[in-house]
């Protein structure tokens, strides 16, 4: 603590010039495009008003700011292997997300970050890789899939198990077909409710795990979706023999700062914003079994 004290100039804050920039102050980004993906889900493409494009790792998130309305943590959904606009895929569920998806092209938003841990999909090189997504949970997994596809030959069997509410809620439909057809990804989709026209599967995404055909002892699993879904999927994966430390979940908690200072995202000893959002099931399993922890 004494290192902060400036003995020569008591009361002066000369040491402050050496401090890092304030992580709570957003950088301005301009909306270059808003794409409607489904009834309630939109993808925003953002470009910095000044300065270079944001570098990030698959699985990280930013704090997105609709000025005067508020700020929310949103996972990055873009392709980290190719320079381009910053992409976020956002569901219209609250005041801030609604302000974000209805902001006009050219409007300026605030961006802080990127923050948090990554999927580190390269840990699956030489292994089977299983992606399990529930709903909007496909968006945070997309950067890891793009990273894998860019080096597809380094991975063995690659499976994407994806559960959506209805066929109309399926995200990135064209890409799902391309990943299956052009990149050797086994894509299995199931929905909670399907009309007569739906010829695919109906049911929980956990039911897809047993027939996914991966080698449990040599598999990396990346899971993102509602917490209850992730808990059951992680149990299904580890029951089949995937080691707990090779099952990774992306956790969602209330976040006001994204940098481990505000305390909102705590899960016992974890700050989900800096220790996560991507965390191994080996660390989460004892914490997810207690209600309201």
């Amino acid at each position: 603590m004494t290192s902060l004290i400036d003995n020569q100039h008591p009361g002066r804050t000369g040491a402050i010039d050496d401090l890092p920039a304030d992580p709570m102050v957003p950088r301005p980004y301009r909306i270059s495009r808003t794409r409607q993906d489904t009834r309630d889900t939109f993808t925003l493409e953002l470009e910095p008003v000044d300065g270079p494009l944001l570098r990030y790792r698959a699985g990280q998130f930013t704090m997105l700011d609709a000025f005067g309305v508020g700020e929310v943590p949103i996972s990055i959904s873009g392709d980290p292997t190719r320079p381009g606009p910053l992409e976020h895929t956002i569901r219209d569920v609250g005041v801030v997300t609604h302000a974000l998806i209805t902001a006009p092209t050219g409007a300026v938003l605030g961006v802080r970050g990127p923050f948090g841990t990554s999927w580190d999909v390269t840990a699956g090189e030489g292994k089977d890789v299983v992606f399990v997504a529930g709903g909007i949970g496909l968006a945070p997994l997309r950067p890891a899939l793009m990273e894998l596809i860019a080096r597809r030959d380094r991975y063995n069997r690659v499976v994407l198990l994806y559960g959506a509410r209805t066929p109309e809620d399926i995200l990135f439909g064209d890409e799902l077909r391309s990943w299956a057809k052009d990149h050797g990804v086994v894509v299995e989709v199931t929905v909670d409710n399907g009309q007569h026209a739906w010829r695919g599967r109906v049911g929980l995404v956990t039911q897809l795990v047993p027939r996914a055909g991966f080698d449990p002892r040599n598999t990396l699993a990346l899971v993102c979706g509602p917490e209850t879904m992730m808990r059951y999927v992680a149990a299904a994966l580890t029951d089949r023999g995937v080691p707990e430390h090779r099952v990774r979940l992306s956790m969602e908690r209330n976040m006001k700062c994204g940098v481990g200072l505000c305390g909102h995202c705590q899960l016992r000893e974890l700050f989900v914003c800096v220790d996560g959002p991507v965390l191994p099931y080996s660390r989460l399993a004892p914490l997810l079994s207690t209600r309201e922890l």
Partner: protein, 383 residues
């Protein structure tokens, strides 16, 4: 340290306040306000709570006349110095919209100033609160990201610590090994000596900056007998604390208590009023508030204290994680006494006792920790 110790009298204490003021500090010290000891700007010895003591117990705080002239003869005041270096409301940035442009300034010249201007000299900081400051330094400055506003206030602050000579009924710093004698983190430390001799203060110097300020004050060398007396006062004070907290294996106790029936018991009393987190010198949780003017062209974000006892503290789309009071009390005490150790290497509790004193329902962290230690766990109940 003993051979460097000095003595000052009440005039010397006035001289110290004057010397700090002359160097541009706003001197913040204990005052009597609204029937409590409250930190506020002080200009002289007459502003201090001379002759005032307090009595504290669970949900009980009263000032009392001591019957002597002691200036620091009370225990932990209503607040630590937390609100000075980490204000409850603070502007983070202000932005202005022009057309589709939006510019953000983190240091807007006409931003609201919270409280008196820095730099601060913090007078009369107790050992428990010194340890709390050190904890905040770790939490807010010692990790990957820095709270730049705290850093600024903290770096400029001058600390005059005081040995607690008359601890209160809710004090337990002795069992937390955080007091009552200041063991570091101060520029100067005082111990008030109220024996048959003249009213005087033993002064220990903690930093060169402290020595520099003290050089402007009329002091006398401290005889060895006064150094011994100051030590004896601290030892005697340690033996008179109203509470104890057994920290042995406490982290494991709390982690194993996640499903304890005790949470229902405490929740039947807890009002989730957030008083404990507001008076706690180490609680650091904050939220942000966004404010826009009527045109929407000027927007600002403020950081405000928050509490894990608020239901929307854990809100995510679909609902709050911790909907029940039992879950929120569990979060608070488990974080404070257990998860804190994993996160920051120390307990989050410094034994100041404020959460006990200011709880309207008289919930006692030391009693709850002890009860959890002796409540059979559901999983272990059958074995």
């Amino acid at each position: 340290m003993a051979d460097e110790a000095r003595l000052i009298d009440l005039d010397g204490l006035q001289g110290l306040i004057d010397a700090l003021s002359a160097r541009g500090y706003t001197v913040i010290g204990p005052t009597v306000r609204d029937g409590a000891i409250v930190n506020a700007p002080v200009h002289g010895v007459d502003d201090l709570p001379r002759g005032w003591g307090d009595e504290q117990d669970a949900a009980h705080y009263r000032l009392r006349r001591r019957g002597d002239d002691a200036v620091f003869g009370f225990a932990a005041g209503a607040q630590s110095v937390k609100p000075v270096v980490f204000p409850a409301h603070e502007l983070i940035w202000r932005g202005r919209r022009t057309g589709t442009e939006f510019t953000v300034n983190d240091r807007d010249a006409d931003g609201p100033v919270a409280g008196p201007p820095p730099p601060y000299a913090l007078l009369g900081v107790r050992s428990c609160d010194l340890h709390a400051l050190a904890i905040h330094d770790t939490v807010l400055l010692g990790r990957g990201y820095t709270d730049t506003r705290y850093a600024e206030r903290r770096a400029g602050s001058f600390v005059v610590a005081v040995t607690c000579t008359d601890p209160g009924g809710t004090c337990f710093c002795a069992s937390m090994r955080t007091g009552p004698h200041p063991d570091g983190g101060f520029d100067l430390a005082l111990t008030e000596l109220m024996d048959d001799g003249p009213h005087r203060f033993l002064v220990e110097v903690g930093t060169p900056r402290g020595a520099d300020v003290l050089a402007d004050v009329a002091t006398a060398p401290a005889p060895e007998s006064d150094v011994v007396e100051a030590e004896a006062i601290a030892v005697e004070a340690a033996s008179r604390m109203g509470r104890t907290l057994d920290t042995d294996g406490l982290k494991d106790v709390l982690y194993a208590s996640a499903d304890s029936p005790r949470w229902d018991d405490v929740a039947s009393r807890c009002l989730a009023c957030t008083n404990c987190t507001l008076v706690c010198p180490t609680c650091f949780c904050t939220s942000v508030e966004d404010v826009a003017d009527l045109t929407g062209d000027v927007a600002e974000r403020r950081r405000v204290w928050d509490s894990c006892f608020n239901e929307d503290f854990s809100y995510i789309h679909g609902g709050s994680i911790r909907t029940e009071t039992r879950s929120r009390y569990r979060q608070w005490i488990t974080h404070k006494l257990a998860a804190w150790v994993d996160q920051f290497g120390t307990s989050g509790c410094v034994g100041c006792g404020r959460c006990i004193t200011w709880c309207p329902a008289a919930i006692d962290i030391t009693a709850e920790a002890a009860a959890l230690r002796w409540t059979p766990q559901p999983a272990a109940a059958g074995s």
